[in-house]
Amino acid sequence: MAKPEGVVAKPGSSKKYKTGSWRTKKPVFKHDKCTDCRICVMVCPDGVIFGADKEYHADMDFCKGCGICAEECPVNDIEMVLEVR
């Protein structure tokens, strides 16, 4: 049998690499004025905002700290703060 050419990778195996280390600022979900609109969930480029019932949070293993969620939140319930490690 011919040897397969190219590379075959397992689906979703990119999760082995934690992009959270790239972050300089982290989103803090204040859970104060949240209206449950889920705009932050929709606009996250990495799809790492989870939660339910006005209690949302970002998965800090993967959040790159771009700040789109804080910028787009219509009630300013998300704040970007400098991360100290």
Binding site: V7, A9, K10, P11, G12, S13, S14, K15, K16, Y17, K18, T19, W22, R23, D36, R38, V41, M42, V43, C44, P45, D46, G47, V48, I49, F50, G51, A52, D59, D61, F62, K64, G65, C66, G67, I68, A70, E71, E72, M80
Partner: protein
């Protein structure tokens, strides 16, 4: 009404797109709209590189990369193979490419795919230059944008040509569905993907994706930049069915093009160099022409 539980995206996290990447957001929305029973091909470009860094893959569905120019040809082959096996109803086929792969390198294969009438949705991620290799101009780079192969300087204002009208070129092939979308309006993008996949035959979807690296804007402003592009009239959002425009996204409040240009450092020279006002007027003219042509107001 209780909202559904948020599931992990079909484009898994851990991919290496820059923070605030518009293309990663578009790909995620498109894959989640298409669902898991989809076979995806990708041309060479940012999307391929950031999602499949050896030996990992961010895709949770069958995905294949072959060459820069043949994403559409590979997808056409997959579609024909599914038909030959009598399994064409089991999976949808999506071909993907960047603006360079679509408008420059892969336009021949893309045209062939349209001509032969394969049941494939082709998605063009339009970030307006070859970002993966270091911001070289492409056929979809806008007028006066500074890139590494169209730099602004003493004798140049940047890119000399305007965007190639790819949606019209696709529509000229008499394919059933052509649409433009933007990551600024993700619900609209989601709706268009679902609509396109419900139609038999070749489909073309062009998604405008801001690139914080190449356009040099704040990563947090990706959505704002995309929305401003639409609200100035520079990026018309419309649907074409059987070659005719059937719907357009109207501009809510028209903004001058300066509002869009000043957010990005690739247009910085227009505000610094003497004589920039005249060039901005020419860009405003492009926006005004779009508004008239597509009836955006």
């Amino acid at each position: 009404m209780k909202k559904p539980e948020i599931k992990e995206s079909l484009l898994a996290p851990g991919h290496k797109a820059c923070a605030g990447c518009g293309e990663a957001l578009a790909a995620r929305i498109i894959m989640d709209a298409a669902g898991p029973n989809t076979i995806v091909t990708a041309a060479t470009g940012c999307l391929e590189v950031f999602s499949t860094l050896y030996p990992q893959s961010a895709w949770k569905m069958p995905w294949i990369h072959s060459l820069f120019e043949n994403s559409s040809a590979v997808a056409a082959g997959i579609e024909v193979a599914l038909k030959a096996m009598g399994r064409e109803n089991e999976a949808k086929v999506i071909a993907q490419g960047g603006d360079g792969a679509t408008a420059d390198i892969g336009i021949g294969c893309l045209s062939g795919m349209f001509e032969r009438g394969h049941d494939v949705l082709y998605v063009c991620y339009d970030n307006e230059a070859y970002m993966n290799t270091g911001i070289q101009r492409s056929g979809l780079t806008p007028f006066e944008a500074s890139t590494t192969t169209s730099p602004s300087g003493e004798i140049s204002w940047g890119n000399k040509t305007d965007k190639k009208p790819m949606p019209e070129i696709a529509a000229a092939h008499k394919i059933p569905y052509v649409a433009t979308a933007t990551v600024g309006y993700v619900k609209d993008l989601e709706k268009k993907v679902k609509k396109a996949l419900s139609i038999k035959g070749p489909k073309y979807l062009q998604v405008h994706c801001p690139c914080p690296l190449g356009w040099a804007h704040d990563p947090a402003l990706t959505i704002k930049v995309a929305k401003t592009a639409v609200q100035t009239g520079l990026i018309p959002i419309f649907e074409m069915e059987q070659g005719k425009i059937t719907s357009v996204r109207k501009i809510a409040k028209k903004q001058p093009v300066e509002e869009y240009l000043k957010l990005q450092a690739r247009f910085r020279h227009l505000f610094k160099k003497p004589g920039g006002e005249a060039e901005i007027k020419r860009i405003q003219q492009i926006a005004d022409n779009n508004i008239e042509k597509y009836g955006l107001m």
